[in-house]
Symmetry: C2
Subunit: 377 residues, 2 copies
């Protein structure tokens, strides 16, 4: 596995550990800049974070932007993105980027998927066309996209899977991770492995051991937040924590609600991603430290306060709830634009709060404060 | 009419007249700033220019922003806007604003409208509720909205109207203009009269004379671009030109395609407004000096040039046609955001070109150059 060992364009620097919780404060070094961790990564599925200009993303303090290999492979095609100079140039996000491997999407979005040892056959959710993803093919696509971090191709077994099937899927994921490691050659891109194992603690441990033996520069934790109760997810994180290397970043994939950002950080997670921030924004839902607010509600009709008092985002510096409610009722795109800016900024502010609390060895206190404020409602 | 005479918060300063065409270079002075004319006013129908943040509007050089009395009266209601501190504060556009009177919308959008001497009864296009607009009511609404310029309530007779009906509608418009003048009291807002008269030159002259006798601080020319051939519209403009006061701004309502911006300027028009720029943007149509481009076309798939070479807008400084085409195909809101920024900036650049040409007494040359470049295609 020398290819992987030599290829460390992305490194993790541990600054300190919270004495109260064990949460990690660190820095993720990437070819496109450093990011303080724990960090929330916003999602730009189709090479755009929905409804926000890249310069506005930059203004609110975005770190890593995540894009989707499955989507970009289907549309516009990874070859086109490569011709455009890669994802950074194509989408004009000049900070760090990460592409997921498409594993999750192949199983959740595509239809008629058939899993073979070599890879997965599936039909496009756009036009029904047939495609075949192997670890090698996915590496080719992710290298063409050219994010700072590529994720290994994994099999994300569905929620409620049997123990026997979870073992099979996990073992295959390990073989695929090894093949990804061999196929991956791009020296300015880090390849992260993905830990699977369903809701079974022993399998999660086995998967963590197997992956860490392959010595990737970072580890995704996949297959969580797929319908299980949150305590089960937290238990899985607690279970694998002792087996995760301290000198590598730990990335909890597809998870990023306010409570999970805090609880995950308390369990040693450094990176999160979630579409909730941008998706709910387009459904008129604002995220605040006092919990979610459905801004279309009548109670905001004559409410001339900002979405969230004390928030420093463009939306809160200028506009009132009454105005944004008007935009929502009138089906104006500007509503989605403004709430997207706010929800993302809220999440970055929450992460700043988490990092400050770690710095002060007080993340549990901060968590309890947020519970009292209703942040997780 | 002393109320109107004393109330001149908006004035027009004629800088020079193009020797080649008679076009006017001037400055419109308003309580919220000066605007060089001829000027294109972008349309923020529902208190937002669709898909663009006010700060981005400011960056691209927007002057006056127009909003719609009819829409804002129905939703969110003028009383709410008044409570919010007026339209500037509500929408956070701190430059000049203009509200149209709702006359055009009552006749084009609302249903079951019944015209009486006192006003117009109509049903809301949103929920079918019944409403009654009189000149006095419209003044109350426009004063509550608080734009720099309010337009008088007029009857916009449909295209292809008989001479007899056009006379009736025009005479009523004159009586309503007089009532508007009496009802209008806000001293920091200018009330402009609206010239009607359909496609009949003698009526247009009569209307211009009647309105200018009332001595408004500016004049809208309504009821054009309602389906008639453009030469007919130009003829109407040529016909009334000698009767329009040189010391007042001339506003051609609802007109703003590139050819009309130039041809209108050549006929002494100082202000234009049009939804085309923002509406076509949401339909993937970019406006350029080489004509319109439908960016969803296959020819742009691997076109890594900006929408328009030489354009200084944010979209053109950063993004390629290939990327924007991808956004369009993927139904991403960012496509509308970027093309909106570009189309508006294109129009402001076109107006800069027109003003520069007037300055050099060469607007006809500029027009001919644009014809050759395909700007009007």
């Amino acid at each position: 596995m020398e290819e992987i060992k030599n290829n460390v364009p992305v490194t993790y620097e541990l600054i300190k550990t919270c004495k109260q919780t064990g949460a990690r404060l660190g820095i993720l070094h990437t070819p496109h800049g450093d990011v303080e961790t724990p960090t929330y990564m916003c999602v730009g599925t189709q090479a755009t974070v929905k409804a926000i200009l890249p310069r506005d993303l930059e203004e609110i303090g975005a770190g890593v932007v995540l894009s989707n290999t499955y989507h970009l492979y289907l549309r516009p095609g990874h070859e086109l993105v490569k011709k455009a100079g890669g994802l950074h140039e194509f989408s004009q996000w000049h900070g760090p980027m990460l592409t997921d491997s498409g594993g999750f999407q192949v199983f959740s979005l595509a239809s008629m998927n058939k899993i073979k040892e070599d890879g997965v056959e599936f039909r496009s959710h756009i036009d029904g066309s047939r495609h075949f993803f192997t670890p090698e093919k996915v590496m080719e696509i992710e290298e063409a996209l050219g994010a700072d971090i590529a994720m290994a191709f994994d099999e994300c077994a569905p929620a409620g899977c049997s123990y026997d099937y979870t073992v099979k899927a996990m073992d295959r994921t390990h073989r695929w991770a090894e093949r990804c490691g061999k196929a991956h050659t791009r020296q300015d891109q880090a390849l992260f492995g993905i830990i699977q194992g369903g809701m079974f603690g022993d399998l999660r441990i086995e998967s963590t051991k197997a992956l860490t033996q392959m010595d990737f520069p970072g580890y995704g934790i996949g297959g969580l937040s797929v319908g299980e109760p949150k305590p089960v997810m937290y238990e899985m994180l607690d279970t694998i924590r002792p087996y995760l290397p301290e000198n590598k970043p730990h990335y909890l994939m597809g998870v990023g609600s306010p409570d999970c950002l805090v609880e995950g950080s308390m369990r040693g997670i450094d990176m999160f991603d979630c579409v909730m921030q941008t998706r709910t924004a387009r459904n008129a839902l604002a995220m605040t430290f006092e919990g979610k607010k459905s801004l279309k509600q009548l109670q905001y009709e004559e409410d001339f306060r900002p979405i969230e008092e004390g928030c420093d985002c463009y939306a809160c510096r200028h506009f009132t709830r009454a105005y944004i409610r008007h935009l929502i009722k009138a089906n104006e795109i500007l509503a989605a634009q403004l709430i997207t800016i706010h929800n993302l900024r809220f999440s970055y502010r929450l992460m700043e709060g988490i990092r400050n609390a770690i710095r002060e060895d007080a993340l549990m206190d901060y968590r309890n404060e947020l519970v009292l404020r209703g942040t997780f409602n």
